[in-house]
Symmetry: C2
Subunit: 248 residues, 2 copies
DNA sequence: ATCTTGCAAATTGCATACAAGCGAGAGATC
DNA sequence: GATCTCTCGCTTGTATGCAATTTGCAAGAT
């Protein structure tokens, strides 16, 4: 329950207009975001069971809230919802992982195409700052570097102002993170900083085709590094599902 | 409330084994799909209120189901969910509409890029058949023509086999339909059949760049026809919301 | 000893009950 | 007479209870 505030029989002075504020990260949103973070930060392993009761108790709410959060996550593709069986952290196959990267490449292509030559001075400055942070964290802090790299791409998308594009890219980046936790190597992301810099330069120069190509190359490298080299983690899960399907 | 419970339609006799299949369009799915159809077919006007009770009673279920369906629809962007206020059929602004079309163009570009030169004989045949149907319906049946045109794009996406791409394009096409019901003219879609044919030809020829360009042109035309020419329908809605916002 | 078969525990699906928030109209005050 | 306030009703937010389904385990049969 919320805190019982001090006994205030009369509200002192209320602004006449009720705040239409979009401020309502109701419990559902909180749980949703918490689970999302937990998943993409690999605190919850792919394939892990996510019982409604447990989640509800963990966050001090009822199953209703947990259920809603899980539904949202399933729409985002971060959890699989099996009828009458429950929710599980998504465990995409290698092929599905590749598909996600394909879509992400296309989305990021849209982003840079729209942004090329359109960046304001403050935006350019902000991107420069992010780049510095990336370099700073790159060597020392592994997970921080990953987070910053992801944020760079997201920030870029936000600069387009296209809400739908932002949403799709957010989702896709999350799913890419998940895919990388399964099939990627620990240090498969940190080498892209210089590529980020080049992309920014192309964007500033207004060369949309070069920016688009750089972005595609960049992402292909990330995907390639992750998805082609390391297959032992994959084979286990993949072979199993393959056989399960064949039996049926 | 539900007054008389009709005699429970017992399922006659379920086949022995529950199909592992994804076959479980539980009530939620059904309501979700029904509402989706109702919205994109303009049976529910943009901005219309969607009370949980009413939906539940209409479908013979409780609010729980209606609520879930509405949540899904809000994720898809077909309904707006206002905290403590309820659900409304989405009423996107002109700018938002344009953004949706931008994303759709990019997604369809991905589709044709992937499909160029990769179509099987049966797929080519199927596309040809769809084209015929479109021509048949084009002149006589207006709404059917619109439906078929949308289905053509969707079918194309399905042929990529990329689940995520399919989902995003499905969503985006739905939202485009919604945008067109607000800002489009009744006959703003029917003239694209020949463009469809050209796209297929480019796909068969394996000329991915030409296919991509054709698709972009095609969609730009659709968007342009709808969003640029006809603004009287728009001005009404838009001015109202603008003023409503200003008053607040 | 292994495979089948049925029962029990756990978990989801769904509905309903209760609490809280917003909006509208009646009443009071200036 | 107009405006402000307070209360009432309707709708949403959340919790919980019950039925249905699945899974694991154990006991029996071959």
């Amino acid at each position: 329950m919320m805190s019982d505030d001090a006994p205030v029989p009369r509200k002192p002075a209320r602004p006449r207009k009720a705040r239409i504020a979009e401020k309502m990260p109701s419990r559902t949103e909180k749980v949703h975001e918490a689970l999302r973070q937990a998943i993409i930060e690999q605190r919850l392993a792919p394939g892990a069971r996510l019982p409604e009761d447990t989640i509800g108790e963990s966050f001090g709410t009822s199953r209703t809230i947990a259920r809603e959060a899980l539904l949202r996550l399933s729409v985002e593709g971060l959890v699989d919802l099996l009828p009458n069986r429950g929710a599980f952290v998504a465990n995409p196959s290698l092929d599905e992982g590749r598909d996600v990267f394909v879509v992400r490449r296309g989305l990021e292509r849209m982003v840079v195409k729209q942004l090329a030559g359109q960046l304001s001075a403050s935006q350019i400055e902000e991107l420069g700052r992010m780049l510095e942070q990336e370099e700073l964290a790159g060597a020392s802090n592994e997970s921080e570097a990953i987070r910053l790299a992801g944020e760079f791409h997201l920030r870029l998308a936000e600069m387009t102002g296209n809400r739908l594009l932002i949403r799709y890219l957010t989702e896709t980046v999350s799913r890419c993170s998940l895919v990388l936790t399964i099939y990627g190597r620990p240090h498969s992301v940190d080498c892209g900083i210089d590529e980020h810099r080049q992309i920014i330069e192309a964007l500033i120069a207004g060369d949309e085709n070069r920016a688009a190509d750089l972005m595609e190359t960049h992402l292909s490298k990330v995907a390639g590094r992750a998805l082609l080299e390391c297959r032992k983690t994959e084979s286990l899960q993949d072979v199993l599902t393959a056989f399960a399907r064949r039996i049926d």
